[in-house]
Structure formats: structure tokens, C-alpha cells
């Protein structure tokens, strides 16, 4: 039944895939990827495959290849999109919010610091979001260069102490809010933290002491603080700059041979659309619903009660119920129910 519903969805789906003929595809019926090294010349050919085969999961390479269906060493790598995979411990739409906020933060960082203009934002259909960078300047970067970008956006390997000069006197020189890149961001974050929660840096920064400290930062002077070993106190600022939702190892970004879920395909664990978006701010799970609200009969195959992206769902093994089609598909994808014909 699920295969039939997926097939029907794919009959009318459109896929925003750049240079489809240069991408490798992977598809899964039992696991995320059961078969890879596939290629398609056109969107119509790809759609025909989905309609006929109805995989639960379908991904394409972030890379562009000369021969996308050849074995790995013989594909002829031509470049790859820079893709970020934002993931979280998501059990409900509310718990998706911090991941969305982090994704927005990452988008803003990519725009302001890396100057990236062309981005496709995608809801993964389950636990997070993807950002596909399509500016051509970034396509030819190798794995090490991509790793450097991941480290930068994650704040990984950032030794904030290198932003400071401490001479023999007590004067500590450091970044100003108007400085470029991380220096400016560090200074601006410090000011924000002193204003909102000064004790997160140092207890003695309340009130006037905080104002005095901020006035110093504006000029690049960081010694207007009475703490012992003040530079050590600033570690909280570095910590606050980290974007935590990027998949821990950033492998999707720096492994230039990875596959990423096809935008506008269906996610086989939820039946939700892998939703391409123009604006992240407009996201809601309801926009990712691929199936109607028409009621269908389902039989529960297990007893359950849990929070999901569609709200709280519950059922008792062996019982039947009429549910909206999108909920029925979700439960069937989760292995909790079967849709009755």
C-alpha cells in the first residue's frame, strides 16, 4: 500500500536537481540505501524510476561526475555542492525548533562570512534540515577545504586566545565589534552576553562594571574587568558561538562522495516530503505533508503512544481506526500500523 501511495505521489512530483545527468543516485527499500551508482539523463527518466520502483528513500550525490553510474574510482569527479546536514534529537515539531534556529543561524553565517548567495533550504523529512550551497566558486573545493569550512561554522578548533594580545602591562588588546569575521562576531557576542547574562562570563560584570567592560570592547580593550586571568573567562563566549546542530562530524559537507536525500522526494520513515524551501522562516511541518486529510482505515500492529512530528499519536495492537491519510502513512512508515485496502 505504501509503495502504491509513494508511486502516486511521484507521478506529479518535481525535483530541483542541478545537472541531474551528472549525479549518482541511491535508493532504499529496506534500508536508507540498498542500491547506488544509478544515474538518470532527465528528470522524466528519474520520475519514471520512482513511479515504477517506489523506493522508501532516494538520495543523490552532492558531487557531479563524468560517469555517475561507474564504480567509485572510475566516476570522474567534477566537483560537488557544499551541503550542510543539520540534525537534532527531534521527537516533535517543537523539538525541531532549535534545529531550525541553528539552521537559520548557519544560513546567516554562510551569507555574511562566506558570501554565499545561492542556497537551497530543505527540510529532511524527519529530524532536520539541509542547506545546499550552489555558488560555483565552492564546487571544486577538496575535502580538506570543506573540512576547514565545517570547522569554521562549527567553531571547532577555534582557539579564542589567539584573538588577544597581552603585553607585559595589564592591558589586553582584543577584537572590536566592527572587525571582520570571527573577531567581530566574538566581540559582538561578548557585548550581547554582558547585556543579557553577565554572570555567564563573570559574576562581577553586573551593572556599571558591565558597561565599563563593554566600552572597552568597543575600542578593542578587554582588560576592563576585575577577574583573575580574564582571558580564561572568555571561553564562555567562544562556547556560545558554536552552532551545535550540524551532524557531529560534518561528513556530509566534507566527504565529497556522500549522498543526500533528494529534495521533494518522500522520507520513508515519516512519509513526509523532503521539502525544498525559499525561506526557512516560513517552515512548518504541515507544509511537508504529502498526503491528504481524507480518512482511511488503519489497523495497529503494535501498542504505542508517543510524541511525533504530527503531534501525539497512540494506538492499541489489533485495533482499527479511521485516520487522515498522512497520519496513516506516517504510522505505516514507522511500522506501527497497516493501511487497510
Amino acid at each position: 500500500m505504501i509503495a502504491q501511495l509513494f508511486s502516486q505521489y511521484y507521478e506529479r512530483a518535481k525535483f530541483p536537481i542541478l545537472s541531474i545527468e551528472q549525479r549518482e543516485f541511491g535508493a532504499g527499500w529496506r534500508s536508507k540505501i540498498d542500491k547506488r551508482h544509478m544515474s538518470f539523463f532527465t528528470e522524466a527518466e528519474f520520475r519514471h524510476f520512482l513511479v515504477e520502483e517506489s523506493p522508501l528513500y532516494v538520495s543523490h550525490s552532492t558531487a557531479y561526475y563524468e560517469k555517475p553510474s561507474a564504480p567509485m574510482g572510475e566516476k570522474g569527479w567534477k566537483g560537488a555542492d557544499l551541503v550542510f546536514d543539520m540534525d537534532g534529537d527531534v521527537t516533535s515539531e517543537a523539538s525541531l525548533k532549535p534545529v531550525l534556529d541553528n539552521t537559520i543561524e548557519l544560513r546567516d553565517l554562510l551569507r555574511s562570512d562566506l558570501g554565499i548567495k545561492k542556497m537551497l533550504f530543505v527540510f529532511s523529512g524527519n529530524r532536520g534540515f539541509h542547506i545546499h550551497v550552489r555558488d560555483e566558486e565552492f564546487r571544486s573545493l577538496d575535502g580538506d577545504a570543506r573540512k576547514a569550512i565545517v570547522e569554521y561554522v562549527l567553531g571547532k578548533g577555534f582557539d579564542y586566545r589567539l584573538l588577544f594580545n597581552k603585553g607585559s602591562s595589564s592591558l589586553i588588546e582584543g577584537p572590536k565589534p566592527t572587525d571582520r569575521g570571527y573577531r567581530g562576531r566574538f566581540a559582538r557576542k561578548a557585548i550581547e552576553m554582558v547585556k543579557d547574562n553577565p554572570s555567564s562570563i563573570y559574576k562581577g560584570l553586573n551593572g556599571e562594571a558591565g558597561q565599563h567592560f563593554i566600552s572597552g570592547i568597543m575600542e578593542g580593550v578587554w582588560s576592563r574587568i576585575k577577574a583573575k586571568e580574564p582571558i580564561e573567562r572568555f571561553s564562555a563566549i567562544a562556547k556560545a558561538l558554536e552552532i551545535t546542530s550540524i551532524a557531529a562530524d560534518g561528513a556530509v559537507t566534507y566527504d565529497v562522495k556522500k549522498l543526500i536525500r533528494v529534495p521533494n522526494s518522500l522520507h520513508g520513515s515519516t512519509g513526509l516530503r523532503v521539502l525544498p524551501m525559499k525561506n526557512l522562516e516560513d517552515f512548518s511541518v504541515s507544509k511537508a505533508l504529502a498526503f491528504s486529510e481524507d480518512k482511511v482505515k488503519v489497523r495497529f500492529t503494535t501498542t504505542f503512544s508517543y510524541e511525533t512530528l504530527l503531534g501525539k499519536l497512540a494506538g492499541k495492537e489489533g485495533e482499527s481506526q479511521n485516520l487522515p491519510l498522512y497520519v496513516a502513512v506516517f504510522l505505516a512508515c514507522q511500522g506501527k500500523a497497516k493501511i487497510e485496502p
Binding site: 558570501g115 577545504a145 576547514a148 570547522e151 578548533g157 572587525d179 569575521g181 570571527y182 573577531r183
Partner: protein
């Protein structure tokens, strides 16, 4: 014509061509010196000498290609890059940068010159040292801003990268010299006893493969080996594997570590500097605070 122009503008447009036999002798001598001492001489080329300088360089490249040894290629590439950084005038280095595809613009930050380039260009040639990471180069709106010193260090890295690309050759004349050159590859006989943590093992492996370690990586390894009781002369021998090895500088730096009595950096610090490995036991056991406390696999 300056050397950057010769290497990256004149030669690619001219093609390799035939190199007379006697150039190989001189080319070999220059390469042997570069491998032994880490230096290679370059000079401003008089127009009448351009062809000779070109053929000599082609002969050197052919011998290196025939030797097909990453250590030799890397050591000579570093020697050339350093010599050009040292010898070329500011304007010549800037021109060389453009020949190498580094598209930049020049501006001023208060009184000093700064160089702006797109981050994708920067990332292709970014040196390994910590202070070249994107955090510290004023990345904004897709462009990094480098002070003069850092820019020229980047150009040095770009020259090295370009010269590290090994050409192919079937020139039989070069084989004789290539075999002689291979005799100069260091093969230090140093026994390393005891089990080492993955992070340290990885640095030792990189060194054995003649990889060029970052400053922090070689400092860390130096501290670790000194603390583990390895004699200074053995550590120096081990470091001779590095393609930019200089015995005087290495000995001086290791003695400095000994005098200052530095401690092996913490695992946390190793993480910050990108030296921690996924199989490091400290990731599972937070009580393990430094590679110095590693007792081997349990």
C-alpha cells in the same frame, strides 16, 4: 625575467622540449644539494639566460619525475618555494601569485597593505598552521583579508603545491640521475619503543611518510618524545624525515623545549589543534587528560 615568471608563465607556454644531456649533470647537482641542505639557488634571469634556466629546470623536473618519490618532490618544492619567497621582490611575488591563479586585490588597513581574496582561492593554498585557520583571517562576505606577511606565506604554499604535482616522464636519461638522487633520501634508524596513543602514532606515521607536519604538530611530538625519555639526537634523526628539515633549527627548538620543560598538551588542546584521532581512548574515558598518561591498550 623573474623566476616566478619563468616557472609559471614562460615554461607552460613554451612546452618542455628537448633538454641536452649536459644539463642533467648540473640539474642533478642542484637537486642533490636541495635534498641534502634544503636549499636551492635561484637568481634573476638575464634575457640571454632564459633558455638555459628553463632547460635546467625542466631537467630537474624530469629527474624528479623519474625518481617518482614524494619525499624528494616535496623537499625540492619546499626549497624552491622558500627560495622564491626570499629572493623575489614584492611585485614579483604578487605577479607569481597571479600566474598561479590567486586572484587578489590590494587595500590598506590603517597604514599597512592588506590583500583580499575569495575564500575558495584561499582554501586551496591555506597553510597548515593554526593561525591561518579561517577564524583568524577576517573572513567576511566571502573574502579573507591577509596582512602582507601572511599573503606571501600563502604564495609560498601555492608555489610548493604547484611544484609538488609530479609530471610524467619516459626520459631514460633521467633514470641514472634519479637513482643517484634516491640515495639521498633519509632513512633514520631510530627505534621507537612502547605503545603510543593514536594521536602520537599518527604523527609518527606521517613523519615516516615524509609528510610535512604543522608547527604545533612537531612541537607536540617533540615535547612528547622528550618527556618519554628519547635522546635528543634520536629525535633530531627522526625529524630528518620532514621534507623541510633543517638540523640546526630542529636542534635549537628541541633544546628550547627541554630547557623550558614544557608539558605534553592536554587532549582538549589536541582537539583544538586538530590532532586528536577518532580512536583516541580519551574520547571514551574523560579521566585520560593527556597523551602522556596513555598506558597502552587494555
Amino acid at each position: 625575467m623573474h623566476f616566478g615568471e619563468l616557472l609559471f608563465k614562460y615554461l607552460p607556454s613554451r612546452g618542455a622540449g628537448y633538454v641536452p644531456e649536459d644539463f642533467y649533470e648540473e640539474a642533478y647537482a642542484r637537486l642533490a644539494r636541495a635534498v641534502k641542505d634544503g636549499d636551492i639557488s635561484i637568481s634573476i634571469i638575464d634575457e640571454s639566460d632564459v633558455e638555459k634556466a628553463a632547460m635546467l629546470f625542466v631537467a630537474e623536473r624530469t629527474i624528479l619525475a623519474s625518481a617518482s618519490n614524494p619525499y624528494l618532490t616535496r623537499r625540492v618544492a619546499i626549497a624552491y618555494a622558500k627560495a622564491m619567497h626570499y629572493m623575489l621582490k614584492e611585485q614579483e611575488l604578487e605577479e607569481t601569485a597571479r600566474f598561479l591563479g590567486i586572484d587578489f586585490s590590494k587595500g590598506n588597513d590603517s597604514s599597512n597593505s592588506v590583500y583580499l581574496m575569495h575564500v575558495s582561492t584561499y582554501l586551496k593554498f591555506m597553510p597548515k598552521s593554526q593561525d591561518y585557520k579561517l577564524f583568524y583571517v577576517g573572513l567576511s562576505d566571502g573574502y579573507v583579508e591577509l596582512p602582507k606577511k601572511k599573503f606571501f606565506r600563502l604564495v609560498e604554499e601555492a608555489i610548493k603545491s604547484k611544484l609538488e604535482v609530479q609530471p610524467r616522464t619516459d626520459d631514460k636519461r633521467a633514470t641514472y640521475y634519479a637513482n643517484m638522487l634516491k640515495e639521498h633520501i633519509p632513512k633514520p634508524k631510530v627505534t621507537i619503543t612502547g605503545e603510543k596513543p593514536p594521536c602520537i602514532r599518527s604523527l609518527l606515521d606521517d613523519m615516516a611518510r615524509h609528510e610535512n607536519l604543522s608547527h604545533y604538530a612537531r612541537w607536540t611530538l617533540g615535547v612528547y618524545l622528550i618527556k618519554s625519555g628519547m635522546p635528543l639526537e634520536n629525535i633530531v634523526k627522526l625529524y630528518s624525515n620532514l621534507p623541510d628539515f633543517d638540523p640546526k633549527i630542529t636542534t635549537y627548538q628541541l633544546k628550547h623545549i627541554m630547557e623550558k620543560g614544557y608539558s605534553v598538551p592536554s587532549c582538549e588542546k589536541m582537539q583544538v589543534y586538530g590532532l586528536r584521532k577518532p580512536d583516541c581512548p580519551c574520547l571514551k574515558d574523560p579521566r585520560l587528560k593527556s597523551p602522556a598518561f596513555y598506558k597502552g591498550k587494555k
